[in-house]
Symmetry: C2
Subunit: 401 residues, 2 copies
Amino acid sequence: MRATGVVVEYNPFHNGHYYHLQESKNVTQADCIIAVMSGNFLQRGEPALLSKWKRTKMALLGGADLVIELPYAYATSHAPRFAFGSIYLLQAAGADSFCFGSESGDVTVFNETHELVSSQDHVYQAYISEFISQGFSYPAAAAKAYEQLNMPLTLDLSKPNNILGFEYIRASRELGSVIKPLTIKRKNADYHDVVLGKGDIASATAIREAVFSHDIEKAINYMPSFTFDILKEEKEDKGALMNWERFYPLLRYQLLSSSPSELNRFYEVEEGLENRMIEAMKDSDSFHSFMIRLKTKRYTWTRLQRACLHVLNKVSKEDMHRILESPPAYLRVLGMTETGREYLSSVKKSLELPLVTTVSKHDFEGLKMEAKTSLVYAQGASLSRLEAEKEEYNTPPVMVK
Amino acid sequence: MRATGVVVEYNPFHNGHYYHLQESKNVTQADCIIAVMSGNFLQRGEPALLSKWKRTKMALLGGADLVIELPYAYATSHAPRFAFGSIYLLQAAGADSFCFGSESGDVTVFNETHELVSSQDHVYQAYISEFISQGFSYPAAAAKAYEQLNMPLTLDLSKPNNILGFEYIRASRELGSVIKPLTIKRKNADYHDVVLGKGDIASATAIREAVFSHDIEKAINYMPSFTFDILKEEKEDKGALMNWERFYPLLRYQLLSSSPSELNRFYEVEEGLENRMIEAMKDSDSFHSFMIRLKTKRYTWTRLQRACLHVLNKVSKEDMHRILESPPAYLRVLGMTETGREYLSSVKKSLELPLVTTVSKHDFEGLKMEAKTSLVYAQGASLSRLEAEKEEYNTPPVMVK
């Protein structure tokens, strides 16, 4: 059986994602689609709207056959590490290609850009360092550095999706190009769109806006009916749609009851950010107003939210460095279809990494971090510790026929 | 001017407290009543119903002339240390006597008990250790040890008020008996009463029960009108009456995001209590259900609540030991009447400890702990950090004419 891979967050799953999965299948003629998906916390430094279990169900109903968890350490990291962890896991799961969404739809542009940039990597890195020392954020510095290289501008590296695409290519090269990169042209909808437009495709950002502003019915045309049903059920029955505001009291408590040196122990809290965080919390009455106060030119919103996530989850520099010393050590299956199950049976013996279906049977550092952060996530949904532990340790992979 | 002292929590101030203040004045013929009052957290290991500022106002309206803060380290400690800190501060403030409430109303009983017990202190302590090793809590072990001494049973040392009285006497002896102990006979109402009885005196416990069960009007006969007005205003305007349940989400977050060894750093968390705490949090959906699971014969409810307070406030063993190395180092004035002000002017030059009226001008370790724990308390009332800091650092003493 042939498998292709996708890297996803599904926050939540919408028509654009559905189109991407269908096209990936068409283009590759794969028998099985493997989705590497972030768990409860995402790359923009945010809690996912819905738990990983609900999002796994959406993924399977939407066309994926096997969902593998991208561990917290990668899922909440900057683009290079996020991409490396994802592609590493797809290759480990036996995918011979992966398909990412892009504006151009032409993978050549990405390959060329990668070749050009890597041929001048030392110059490029030196420019980046210089722009960072001038106070630019990493993505801004990278885009400016790229400009300085005076190359034919085929790829705008200031766009998040292009940066990710570029990093996927770099990761696949690092891994020896066993896994082949492909790209699917995205249908309208910009990543940063915040309003719902015409047609049936909108950005996840716009959909989340609609969901939280009580206009969930307005978003109905932009998502498959199963997404709408799950969102509606969660919203009405439990008020269990998560966002940063739900965790704001806990973050505030953590910031106000910690000394600067205690905060500095946490990952991505450095260069005096701990003092800024405490100061910004002074007169804030919501996560949003706190972030407005915290923001400077030096750090992107995303970078700051990630630091907040690590404070909320009490993830120390030490723990993170220890986990990141080596690549992901296991393949955690969050869910599969019948096709996914057949695929796993067919490749089981040749897999390089152990398959994890029940967390309680394994002892990986990465899984411990998953359990720890899941306990925090569960508090947003007011789950008891027992429920949260059951969910994390004993939930069998989601099965969809 | 002559001053007498009282040791209080006023949680909240009621008719029994009013009677106690009037009688203290009658008995001692003092010109000024000094109340040493706990701040935001209390000896039973609970957050106070109302902030120290509201309770100071009640104290002054009810007959006290000067309110001095009992620092967190003493206010949330077992009876011997609570009593020592209180009597030490009263003596330092220049009181030549202090009046505590008791069932007997006869201080001789307390003096005799203290003399008898201290004459056999080594035997008494040995019995206590033995009973503790058999699994009894400290108060139970102390009461049983006292029984074993085979003394004429004049004082029931299993009752909280008697234990406190006994410890006040012991503290005053330790301090060289400069400050004279007196006792006022309490009018009906047992400390542990949970229902409102006949007459106009009820226990603070029963009053709190009424206040939280929405029956605040039923408690009107048991408290001065100013208490009722303040309680009603707080309850209606801000929902700002505090109890453990309001802090439960923060305690839960703290317990669930800490490792046992991190919890073990906190004061009074020892002998594996950290593991029991984590375990007890598993299936609890309220502070009360958590405590029911946590309780064992070995620890009193109070002792366990105190450990929870220190976890909530992140008060480490190290910090606490450093503060407790020496007796209280300052007299913090929370409020005064005109009489209190005159009294302070008259004794100012002879005071052994510095007077603190504005916290921001001083640098005592104890005050830092006060500020830290006040920030946590303020989160129950959803105060911003700025408001909480202003309240703690810049509130001038409450003045009542």
